[in-house]
Assembly symmetry: C2
Homo-oligomer: 406 residues x 2
């Protein structure tokens, strides 16, 4: 099948959810058969699927915009929904610090607090404990640290982090883990994998003790060491987690190693469980990982880059602060159906950046989030038509032809 013209027919873009949150019988959710594969690519390991949560279905491959502080920076929840976003990811560490679990519990959970009705994944905050927190000390029972905000002492355990994420009413929970830096010494990584596995077991036990409508994933660590990735994956598969995340990837090891570890790890994982590559990435990273069998992604790239003036288009990246856009009255992307492109020009957005106006950030963020949702939707459609590899090649040829950054 080579007819791929409608890959670029942007008007065909639409979220194709078959069930929303009002149509998710609790028995389906409690059965925990939450992931179904609609089609597997015949020429790669790409899969198109769907998953059912207490807050509705999401389609895979899926990209989750990052809502660290219970907001995807600069956007409202209504704008995310209008941009075709299926699911977002928030962060237990940050929400624990501010506003704290009590307030979100009183609000009726994170969905109600931030007025987002679709699924939410929450990261455990392990990554933040190891990257942001102060005076960190790892024990078998958990990790002791001081807040990066006010220096107050805290002790995160696998159990209390599960509890906290259930208070948030998160749909997909991530267990406490240690995400090691790259490069890392094999001995250190081995010890770290052991801790991560032991914490995953404790997380699962705790999760099973508490009645809930959520799902708990396992996080596979092991840096670039195959034997350690394998050890970790096998342990977690034995625990029968609801999905498997690849952690500690995209942390500086480079694209070749990233692809190799993704290939290696996905091959160990059961076909029928959802796979999530944490913190990745650029459009190119994501398409590469999809062809390797990954279903879920999250990354700050579309939002953080927007705040620096960088817009993603199917014809490459644009740095909208550049003077060459000052008299360019085209939208960010021709024929794009996003709110920013329907209403505003590159010249106007450049002026807003130049004068330090918030609306500049909003408009590029809105466009980038729409672009990522569209990218995932068109990737999914290509998988369903069994021509994802052609789609990927065509996308990258066009995307890289005018690439200005990254």
């Amino acid at each position: 099948m080579t007819n791929n013209t409608n890959f670029w027919d942007l008007s065909s873009f639409a979220a194709r959810l078959t069930r929303d949150k009002n149509d998710c019988p609790m028995e389906d959710i409690l059965n925990k058969n939450f992931f179904v594969i609609d089609h597997k690519s015949s020429s790669s390991k790409a899969r198109a699927g769907r998953a059912l949560t207490a807050h509705g279905e999401f389609l895979t491959p899926v990209f989750m915009p990052v809502a660290t502080q219970a907001t995807v920076k600069s956007l409202s929840s209504e704008e995310l929904e209008n941009a075709g976003v299926n699911m977002i990811i928030s962060n237990a560490y940050h929400l624990f610090m501010r506003p704290g679990g009590d307030i979100i519990k009183k609000a009726g959970g994170l969905h109600k607090f931030m007025n987002w009705t679709r699924p939410i994944t929450t990261d455990s905050g392990g990554f933040q404990v190891f990257s942001l927190a102060l005076l960190r000390k790892i024990h078998n029972e958990g990790v002791e640290f001081r807040s990066h905000l006010d220096g107050t002492s805290h002790f995160f355990t696998p159990e209390n982090i599960v509890d906290f994420q259930l208070v948030l009413d998160s749909d997909i929970l991530m267990p406490l883990d240690e995400c090691v830096k790259y490069p890392a010494d094999e001995k250190y990584v081995e010890k770290s994998v052991d801790i991560t596995c032991a914490w995953a077991k404790k997380s699962k036990d705790r999760f099973n003790e508490i009645q809930n409508n959520s799902f708990l994933f396992g996080i596979i660590q092991g840096s670039t060491y195959h034997n350690l990735r394998k050890k970790c994956a096998n342990f977690l598969v034995e625990l029968n987690m609801d999905g498997y995340a690849l952690g500690g990837i995209g942390v500086g090891e480079g694209r070749e190693l990233m692809d190799e570890i993704t290939d290696y790890t996905c091959a160990i994982l059961p076909e029928n469980k959802i796979r999530y590559l944490m913190g990745v990435g650029t459009p190119s990273d994501i398409l590469s990982a999809i062809s390797r069998g990954v279903d879920m992604f999250d990354c700050v790239v579309p939002t953080r880059n927007a705040r620096n003036g960088q817009a993603f288009t199917f014809d490459g990246e644009l740095q909208l602060r550049n003077a060459n856009f000052k008299e360019d009255f085209n939208p960010i992307e021709k024929d794009c159906a996003c709110n920013a492109c329907k209403n505003y020009s590159r010249a106007y957005i450049r002026h807003l950046f130049n004068t330090g106006e918030i609306l500049a950030i909003r408009l590029i963020t809105e466009h980038n989030i729409f672009f990522y949702a569209k990218l995932m939707n068109s990737a999914r459609e290509a998988i369903l038509r069994d021509n994802f590899e052609i789609y990927k090649k065509d996308f990258l040829t066009r995307f890289n032809a005018n690439k200005t950054l990254g």
Copy 2:
């Protein structure tokens, strides 16, 4: 008439424009009978009117949110329209500096550049020349200064400032004037009034030379000196400007003097011309000026205060950063129909402020702009029902009962 219950029926709020921009025959606009009074209050000098521009009608009393850099800080043009905004004001000085007239001309004017289809007033930038610019020197021909941004030299004349505002395709133009500080020496003010009058004449002559669909107001200066206000007003009335602005008020002279000068000056002005009190103000300032016969207002208060966490409600002002809102899951204002109140709680907005998130600013700004539009609409309805003084008293009683700030 004492039945005022529906003042507070917020659901009755709607812009009641009878003609939009597609229904403004050019002959009506060229006739320059652009202001019509619908009703004059029997118990005060309050008036309800309507004015017709090439970009549609606006109803008075009207409040113009400030779009200094071609954006009402943090909001999109769609949001302004949804908030019930009739008209905005931008600024010739700032737009001259960035992005410059060439770019806006190429965009097809300021309306197209910022995607705002309703009327726009532009201030001449005189106030900015006298408050922001460097090494300022006043000549009879205009004012020489250096940009506050990059130190470049510029010379604003009454003529080139009219030209520039016509390039912007502004609906209401303000002439170059000198806005003196308070307090000011009478001799200095007299000289300044003479310059302002001479510049108004030059502005009017220039405006008449160029075919356009816009309106040119006169700005009455004179500080707190009755004789100088009168001299300036009489001169401008003689020039038969399209409307009359009261400048140099609300610059620190206090409410009593503000009211006195407003009363004095309005009494000199013809009844059939629109009156604009520049840079004013708080809800209380505005209602006071409406009862003194003023029709138009602009002020940064609703937007600037929003950026500091302050929200306006009919029950007074709220400082949403305060800890007492941390578990308050009510909207900013009960039963308010604005987007922020329909979707988000005080507790969520406080959390967003606390974590430095842009959405906090957006939501309060959106609410405050909606509040101001609603205030003006309900004031107008009260005038039409001939019970504005009761409305004002009731509003102030309720508004001040829980006042937390200013």
